[in-house]
Symmetry: C2
Subunit: 233 residues, 2 copies
DNA sequence: AAAATTAATATGTAGCTACATAAAAATGTC
DNA sequence: GACATTTTTATGTAGCTACATATTAATTTT
C-alpha cells in the first residue's frame, strides 16, 4: 500500500471532467493552462496534457495552440462502433453460423458502386452475393463488389466454402474505410432471401475499403428485421 | 530546414501499419518489443509506445503486459460517429432549421423506456415529442423522456421556443451514454409527421444518458426517408 | 507430477527537460 | 488607420529516467 497520492492522468481527466459537469468550467469557457492545472493538482504538465488529450478526443473540449483549451459549447455525442466479421458477430451471440453463396460473376459496376468508390468510369468487377445465417435463419444479406485489379487473388478463392467477407478481412487489410448506415424497405429478392415481410424496414451497413488510392471492395450488408447496432461503451 | 530525420510517433505508427498491411507482420503474429522497434527505427521507446497505443486504439493490434503486441487475427472495422445537436446538423448541411413542439406532458414510462434506463419500476417522467425541420421539410421526429428527478429545471423551459434536444445538450452534461441504431417502418402518426410514405423505411437513433447512476433522458429520433449516417474519417 | 512460489520481462505510467509550432498579441512601418 | 513584422505564449512532441504492474516462465516445494 503506497501512501503517495500521486495522480494518474485518468484521475486528472476525471477531475477536469467533473468540473465541466458541475459547471466550474462552463460551455465555451477557457480552461486554465495545463501548467496551472498541473500546479494546482500537484502533478506534471505531461500528466495534465495526456488527460486533456483524452478529453479532446472524446469531444468534451477543444484545444488550440496558444488559444488554450475550451469547453465545447455544442458538445457532440461521439459513439464508436465495432463491425466484426459476420461469423464472429453471429457466434458471439451464441448462435450457429452458416453461409450460402448466392451468385458470383464479373459485372460492370453500376453508377451507385462507381459513386462509392469515387470512380469516373465504370469498371469490370467481381460481384458476390451471399447470405449469412444465424441458427439457420437469415441474418445478413451481402451484395459485394471486389476490384479484381487490386485483388486478383479473390478469383481463386472458393467462395462457396469461405465467405468473401472473411477472406477479405483476413487477407486484404485496407488503409482507408468508409462506413455508412441507412434504412431500406424490404422488396423483391432482398425480402425473399432475408425472409422478411414485404415492406418491412431493414438496417443497412455500407462499407467501402481502399488500399492507398486503389479500391478493394464495397459491400452493402442488409440485416434481417429487428437488427440493432449498439455503440461500444 | 532541419536535416535531422527524427521520427515522430505518427511516422512510427505508419511504418508499423505498413508492415502489417504488407504482411511483414501477419495476422496473429507477435510484433517485436517496443524497445527493439525503437532501436531499429532509431527513436525512443516512448515514441514507439505512443504509436502502438494508437494502433491498439484503432483495433489493428492488441497489447498485453508481458504478453507483447499481437496483430489482431480478426480485425474489426472501428467506426466513429459524431451525433451533433440537430440544429447544427441541419445548418451544417446549409439548410434552414426549424422546430415544432408536438406535445409535452407528464406520463408514466412504458416498458420500453424502463428497459432503456434499466429501471425496475415505472416512473413519472416528462415526455416531449417534437419535429425538427430542414428547409421547412420534416427532418427528424423525436420522442423524448426526461427524468424530472435528475433534471427538474426542464419543467421551467419553454419547449415551444427551444428544443429539449438543444437545452439538454447545453445544460445537462452526462457521464454515460448509450447509443444504438436501427430501422423501423413508417406507420401512423410517425409517417404523418415525417411526411413519409406509409411503409417506407426510417432510420432510428436511440440515445440514453445518465449522470452517475441517475437517468437524464432517452430519445428515439426517427429520421425522414433517405437519411444516411456517415462515419468520421 | 502437481501446486505453490519466485523470477523475469514487456508494457504502462509519471515526471523531467528541451525544443517545435501555431496562433494571438504587441509592435513597428507606411 | 491599415498592413506587415516581431514577440509572446500555450499546446504539441521527442527523449530520457525511474518505477509500476500484469503475466508468463522458471523454480522450488509438497
Amino acid at each position: 500500500m503506497t501512501l503517495d497520492t500521486r495522480l494518474s492522468w485518468t484521475d486528472v481527466r476525471d477531475q477536469v471532467r467533473a468540473r465541466i459537469l458541475n459547471r466550474t468550467y462552463a460551455p465555451g469557457d477557457r480552461l486554465p493552462r495545463d501548467e496551472d492545472i498541473a500546479q494546482e493538482l500537484g502533478c506534471a504538465r505531461t500528466t495534465v496534457h495526456r488527460a486533456m488529450q483524452d478529453l479532446a478526443l472524446s469531444g468534451l473540449v477543444e484545444r488550440k495552440r496558444k488559444g488554450g483549451t475550451h469547453v465545447r459549447a455544442d458538445p457532440v455525442t461521439r459513439a464508436t462502433f465495432d463491425i466484426p466479421i459476420t461469423r464472429r458477430e453471429v457466434e458471439d451471440r451464441g448462435a450457429k453460423y452458416n453461409y450460402q453463396l448466392i451468385s458470383r460473376e464479373m459485372e460492370q459496376t453500376p453508377r451507385a458502386v462507381m459513386a462509392r468508390f469515387g470512380l469516373q468510369a465504370p469498371a469490370q468487377m467481381l460481384r458476390v452475393r451471399a447470405l449469412h445465417l444465424a441458427d439457420n435463419r437469415p441474418y445478413i444479406l451481402e451484395d459485394r463488389w471486389v476490384d479484381t485489379t487490386s485483388t486478383p487473388e479473390i478469383l481463386k478463392v472458393d467462395l462457396a466454402q469461405h465467405s468473401a467477407n472473411e477472406w477479405l478481412v483476413r487477407n486484404k487489410p485496407y488503409s482507408r474505410v468508409d462506413v455508412r448506415f441507412s434504412a431500406i424497405t424490404a422488396e423483391g429478392t432482398t425480402a425473399e432471401y432475408l425472409a422478411a415481410p414485404l415492406g418491412s424496414a431493414l438496417f443497412v451497413i455500407e462499407r467501402t475499403t481502399w488500399i492507398g488510392a486503389d479500391p478493394i471492395t464495397t459491400v452493402q450488408s442488409v440485416a434481417a428485421p429487428g437488427y440493432q447496432l449498439v455503440a461500444q461503451s
